[in-house]
C-alpha cells in the first residue's frame, strides 16, 4: 500500500468517527427497516404509535421493509459518509496537522485522493454489508415474503446507497473550504433538510442528493418514474465536480 493510502487508512480506522459511523451504517438500516415493520405488524401495537406505523402494515413484510430501507439507507448514508469524509479532511486543520504535509515527496494532492479513496472503499463495504443484513433480516422475519420483486427492490436500494455515498464524499470540499469539519457538518444538516423540502415540492429529480433515493422508490412509483438520464447525469456530474474540486482545494490550500 502506498504511503498516502496507508496513512489515510490507519488514521481513519483508529478514529472514533469511523467507529461511530460504521455502527450507524451497519446496524440502523436493518434495525429500522425490519424492526419497524415487525413492530407495526405485532399484535401488541395500539394507540397513536399504531396509527403512525400503519403504512408499514400494507403489502407483504418484505415489500414494506424494502420500501422503508430505501428511505433509511439513503438518509443514513448521506449523513454517515458525509461526517466521515468531513472529519478525515477537516481534522488536518482542527488537529493542526496540515502544516506538516507541506514540502513532502508525498504531495497533498496524493493525500487528498487517498483520503477520498479510503472513505469511498469503507462506505461501499459498509453499505453492502448493511444491505446484506437487511436482506437476512427480511429472510428471517418476513414470513417467506422475500421474492424476486422484493430482491430487485433491495438491489436498487443498495445501488442508491452507493450513489448517495459517492455524493456524500463531495462534503470534503466544504471541509477544506471551511478549514475544519464543523462547516461540513453544518452543510450536511442543511443539505439533508433542504433536499427533503425540495423533494416534497416536486423538485427532487433536479437535486443530486435526492435522486438516488427517489430512483430506488423511496418517493413512490411516480417519483421513481420521473428519474431519467438527466437526473443521472446531474448526479454523475456533481460527484465528478465535487471530487475534483475537493482534491484541488486540499492540494492548493495554504496556512496564511
Amino acid at each position: 500500500m502506498n504511503t498516502a493510502l496507508a496513512l489515510a487508512a490507519t488514521t481513519f480506522s483508529r478514529s472514533l468517527t469511523a467507529r461511530v459511523t460504521t455502527a450507524l451504517l451497519l446496524v440502523l438500516p436493518a434495525l429500522m427497516s425490519v424492526g419497524l415493520v415487525g413492530l407495526a405488524r405485532s399484535a401488541s401495537m395500539a394507540g397513536p404509535s399504531a396509527a403512525k406505523l400503519a403504512p408499514y402494515r400494507e403489502g407483504t413484510f418484505a415489500q414494506a421493509s424494502a420500501s422503508l430501507a430505501g428511505q433509511v439507507v439513503s438518509a443514513l448514508t448521506l449523513i454517515a459518509v458525509g461526517f466521515a469524509i468531513a472529519w478525515l479532511m477537516g481534522r488536518e486543520w482542527a488537529d493542526r496537522t496540515f502544516g506538516s504535509l507541506f514540502s513532502l515527496p508525498v504531495t497533498r494532492t496524493q493525500i487528498a485522493r487517498a483520503k477520498l479513496a479510503v472513505v469511498a472503499t469503507w462506505a461501499a463495504a459498509s453499505v453492502t454489508v448493511s444491505m446484506i443484513l437487511v436482506t437476512v433480516g427480511i429472510a428471517i422475519f418476513g414470513d417467506g415474503s422475500l421474492n424476486t420483486t422484493t430482491a430487485t427492490s433491495l438491489v436498487k436500494v443498495w445501488i442508491a446507497g452507493l450513489a448517495t455515498a459517492a455524493l456524500a464524499l463531495t462534503f470534503a470540499w466544504v471541509a477544506v473550504a471551511s478549514r475544519g469539519y464543523l462547516g461540513a457538518v453544518g452543510a450536511i444538516v442543511g443539505v439533508t433538510a433542504l433536499s427533503q423540502v425540495l423533494a416534497s415540492v416536486g423538485f427532487g429529480s433536479w437535486i443530486p442528493f435526492v435522486v438516488p433515493a427517489l430512483w430506488a422508490g423511496a418517493g413512490g412509483p411516480d417519483a421513481a418514474a420521473a428519474i431519467g438520464v438527466t437526473s443521472l447525469a446531474i448526479v454523475v456530474g456533481f460527484v465528478a465536480l465535487g471530487l475534483w474540486a475537493s482534491v484541488r482545494a486540499f492540494g492548493a490550500a495554504r496556512l496564511d
Partner: protein, 250 residues
C-alpha cells in the same frame, strides 16, 4: 586557487510578504550552507516564523525567491523534499496514532519504505528517550514529549536541511540537551540547520552564525559565543528602530 563555494542548502532572496497593511517580510534574505547551524533571533512578530513558513510553502510570498538545494522551493520535487525536515508552529503527530506509528509514517512521508521507516522509528524512540511512551497515542503525551516526538518525526529520515522554529519551547532541560545533540550531529554529518529561538544562550552555544531579524528583514549578525549576547541583540534592535522612526513592524 580557491575552493568553489558549495551550493547553499537553502537560500532566501528578498522575500516580501504582506498581510493586508501588515508587512510581515520586508526583503528578507538569508542562506544556510551545508554543515552550518544558522540561528535566527528576533522579537515576537519580527518575521522569523513567517520566513520559515514561506520556505516550506505554508504561505506564498508576494515577492522574492526561495531555493532548496539549488532549485526553486515551490517546484523542488520529491527528491529534494525528501531531504528536508521541519517543525514550524505545530510538531508532526496524529493524536490517534502511537509514538512509534507517527515516527514511522513521518519517515515514510519523506520517501522511505515501510521497513526502513520502522527501523528508523525504533532508533529515534531510543535516541530521544521516548521508549516508555512508544506505544502511547500522541494525544496522551505531555507537551514536552509531543515536542520530542515532533523532532523525531522530522529528523528520523536524516534530512540535509533541518528547519526548527523555536524547538525548545516546551522542552525540559533533558529535552534541550537531546535537541542540541540532534542539531549538532545533523550539522556534523553535513546537514544545514536553520533554527529560531528566544533562548539566546542556547543559540550562542551551538550556532555557527546568528542573524538578527527585525521588522521582516535582517538587521545584523551576532558573533556566536560572545558574552552578553542579549545586550548586543537589543543594541542592534534599538539602533535600527532609532534609524527608522516611522518604520514598519511585522
Amino acid at each position: 586557487m580557491t575552493a568553489p563555494h558549495p551550493t547553499p542548502v537553502l537560500s532566501v532572496t528578498n522575500a516580501t510578504k504582506h498581510y493586508g497593511e501588515l508587512r510581515a517580510l520586508d526583503g528578507l534574505s538569508l542562506t544556510v550552507e551545508p554543515g552550518e547551524i544558522h540561528a535566527l533571533i528576533g522579537l515576537n512578530g519580527a518575521g522569523k516564523t513567517t520566513g520559515m513558513k514561506a520556505i516550506v510553502g505554508h504561505t506564498a510570498l508576494d515577492d522574492g525567491e526561495v531555493t532548496l538545494f539549488g532549485a526553486p522551493a515551490a517546484t523542488a520535487g520529491a527528491e529534494r523534499y525528501a531531504r528536508l525536515g521541519f517543525v514550524i508552529d505545530q510538531p508532526f503527530g496524529y493524536p490517534e496514532l502511537t509514538v512509534a506509528d507517527n515516527i514511522a509514517f513521518a519517515v515514510r512521508l519523506h520517501g522511505a519504505m515501510a521497513e526502513r521507516a520502522r527501523a528508523a522509528a525504533s532508533a529515534w524512540i531510543e535516541r530521544l528517550e521516548l521508549t516508555r511512551w512508544q506505544d502511547r497515542k500522541a494525544r496522551g503525551l505531555s507537551l514536552g514529549n509531543r515536542q520530542r516526538l515532533g523532532l523525531a518525526c522530522v529528523a528520523a529520515h536524516e534530512p540535509d536541511l533541518l528547519i526548527l522554529d523555536e524547538p525548545t519551547n516546551a522542552l525540559d532541560p533533558a529535552g534541550v540537551l537531546l535537541l542540541r545533540d540532534v542539531i549538532v550531529d545533523a550539522a556534523e554529518r553535513g546537514a544545514g540547520v536553520l533554527v529560531s529561538s528566544h533562548h539566546l544562550d542556547e543559540v550562542s552555544r551551538m550556532a555557527h552564525r546568528i542573524t538578527v531579524i527585525h521588522a521582516g528583514r535582517v538587521i545584523g549578525t551576532l558573533e556566536p559565543g560572545q558574552v552578553d549576547l542579549e545586550r548586543h541583540f537589543f543594541d542592534l534592535v534599538r539602533a535600527w528602530d532609532a534609524s527608522h522612526p516611522v518604520g514598519v513592524s511585522a
